[in-house]
């Protein structure tokens, strides 16, 4: 029974595909996967928006939306209808073609990125040997879409937002990839399914997830920081910067195109959270041994995903936006050296014999680096009247 429940969607798909003649079956299989992905994540998007609005409200001691439906939980439907019936305005100076293509170019790569993640046992839409590379390759496509939007709008705010977005996303792309390199080094594979399989099993009560090793914990935290920046979420929401540049690169978008940008942002957040779950949090494996069999694997994936969403909302409710120089200093002077040292720690972990020594060595390297680099980040600059050397 539990086996069937665990494989429910796999069997359902096989049953549906069985109705079609053999030559059509691969195509039908793909279409079913695509439809399921879009449906599930669109629903998750709706749920995430209402949870975010209510959560942020509670953080600020407000109610949040509570008028539409029970406890306001139909608010996303009202929002969606509003978006659909709003006028779609294109500025007269805009490049109409690029302006039209940008939201599509943002959502399409993110949907592609969904295709390589394993959502449960036997539940990866595509089993690619280089799945992680594909994920990062299509993920980098969103940067192009953002710049397309900012450039084609012919608006100084949107251009500023696009420039900020490019600077930020390229800066954080580096630590994002370098922090996931550690997992690839240890597992020895770029295949997401194999990475999840490598994290199966338990040491006593503790699951064999990568996050429970020193390099894994550091890698996970660095990945989470870079992922927040990559998905343009607060405190790294400079490209949007509502109080500074109105809405950044999508100022000139209204109606459903704006909704697409909004959706692309959330989809990006889900995709990168899914990758973090796959790399560090054991994918669809249960956190405790006795839960492994009783609760279906895909449930665990989505429980972890909701954990990530909650964390993103909590961070957004807490932290103010970074300044541009703080953002760049943090990326290049702290996150990047930390990821490089983390690669060293992961290498040592791989070749030192199992036991307390490799824990100690890795912890010393990482904690030392954290304290040393952290000191330079929090050190207060001494401000004094400026001295002019030449213009006296």
């Amino acid at each position: 029974m539990q086996e069937i429940l665990d494989q429910l969607f796999v069997l359902l798909k096989a049953w549906l595909v069985g109705f079609f003649p053999l030559p059509w079956q691969p195509l039908v299989s793909i279409l079913i996967s695509v439809a399921a992905l879009i449906l599930v994540f669109a629903l998750l998007f709706a749920v995430a928006t209402i949870l975010e609005r209510k959560g942020l409200g509670r953080i600020q001691n407000r109610y949040g939306p509570n008028r539409v439906g029970p406890c306001g939980f139909f608010q996303p439907i009202a929002d969606g209808l509003k978006m659909l019936i709003k006028e779609d305005i294109v500025p007269s100076g805009a490049d109409r073609v690029v302006h039209f293509l940008a939201p599509i170019a943002l959502v399409a790569p993110v949907l592609l990125a969904f295709s390589v993640l394993p959502y449960g046992r036997n539940m990866a839409p595509i089993d690619l040997d280089a799945g992680i590379v594909v994920f990062f390759a299509v993920g980098a496509g969103t940067e192009l879409a953002v710049f397309m939007a900012g450039w084609s709008s012919r608006n100084k705010y949107s251009l500023l937002g696009a420039m900020r977005a490019i600077a930020q996303m390229i800066s954080y792309e580096v630590p994002l990839i370098l922090s996931s390199v550690t997992v690839i080094m240890i597992v020895g594979s770029l295949r997401p399914i194999q990475i999840v399989e490598a994290q199966a099993g338990y040491q006593g009560w503790l699951p064999a997830w990568h996050v429970f090793t020193p390099w894994g914990l550091a890698g996970f935290l660095l990945f989470a920081i870079a992922a927040t920046a990559e998905s343009n979420r607060s405190p790294f929401d400079m490209p949007e910067g509502e109080s500074e540049i109105v809405a950044g690169y999508f100022v000139e978008y209204s109606g459903f195109k704006f909704a697409l940008f909004f959706m692309g942002e959330y989809f990006g957040m889900f995709a990168i959270s899914g990758l973090a779950i796959t790399l560090f949090l054991g994918g669809w494996h249960a956190p405790l041994p006795f839960l492994e069999k009783s609760i279906p694997s895909y449930v665990w994936f989505f429980v972890k995903l909701f954990g990530f969403i909650a964390m993103f909302i909590w961070l957004r409710g807490t932290l103010p936006r970074l300044r541009v120089d703080q953002l760049m200093n943090f990326a290049w002077k702290f996150v990047l050296p930390m990821t490089l040292l983390n690669i060293l720690a992961a290498g040592l972990w791989r070749f030192l014999p199992a036991g307390a020594t490799r824990w100690l060595v890795c912890l010393v390297i990482l904690l030392g680096a954290f304290l040393a680099l952290g000191r330079s980040m929090v050190a207060r600059r001494k401000w004094s009247p400026r001295k002019y050397r030449f213009a006296e």
Partner: protein
């Protein structure tokens, strides 16, 4: 250490988050249509006409003197004096229109009114789907009883009532005094005897 401040901030927001479910005093939002805060004594919005007694037509304090109409800075008041068949003025407005889409709530009409006939209302749910006729209030819509005035501005209304009563008593005493020694001065005493008249310059 790096990250200390972030942890401190996140505990604070977590305390807010869970606290708002436990302690309802944290949620200060007033759920407006169902839940309303009492209005302050000095709240004012748009003018209304006070009438004594139950009949809004007869009890209207307004005598159509048109002072408010002249003083009104945005000129939102329109008054037509009532006349009888012979064309004699009746000390009563035939038409009293007030356009609240023009009114700026300055209260000058209230300040200049010698009869305490026009006062500021606190009603604010006045939105209407007809932007012209819907916001142009006529005499019937503007007339509200004195006890309503007492309800919305209790202190001010009590003062007004006291003053009106004192003026009425003074005018009656004066009329009595004027009537006793010189019964010949009939017309002047007759006009001065009316309750609303005393602030007008009494002909010597």
């Amino acid at each position: 250490m790096l990250g200390e401040g972030i942890i401190k901030g996140m505990t604070e927001t977590a305390r807010n988050f869970f606290g708002s479910y436990i302690d309802s005093d944290r949620l200060v939002t007033v759920q407006y249509p169902e839940q309303r805060l009492p209005l302050k004594e000095n709240t004012r919005n748009f003018p209304f006409l006070v009438h004594d007694g139950d009949d809004p037509e007869k009890g209207l304090r307004c005598v159509a003197c048109k002072i408010c109409e002249k003083e009104c800075p945005p000129q939102c008041i329109f008054i037509v004096l009532e006349r009888d068949e012979k064309g004699k003025p009746q000390k009563h407005p035939k038409v009293f229109d007030l356009d609240i889409s023009v009114c700026m709530s300055c209260q000058i009409c209230v300040e200049v009114c010698p009869f305490d006939a026009i006062k500021m209302d606190t009603e604010f749910e006045l939105s209407h789907d007809d932007r012209f006729r819907g916001l142009l209030l006529d005499k019937k819509q503007l007339a509200k009883p004195n006890h309503y005035y007492h309800k919305i501005h209790p202190v001010e209304a009590a003062e007004v009532d006291e003053r009106l009563a004192a003026e009425k008593a003074k005018a009656e005493a004066k009329a009595k005094a004027a009537a006793a020694p010189k019964p010949a001065a009939g017309p002047a005493a007759a006009t001065a005897g009316k309750p609303a008249a005393p602030r007008q310059p009494v002909p010597a």
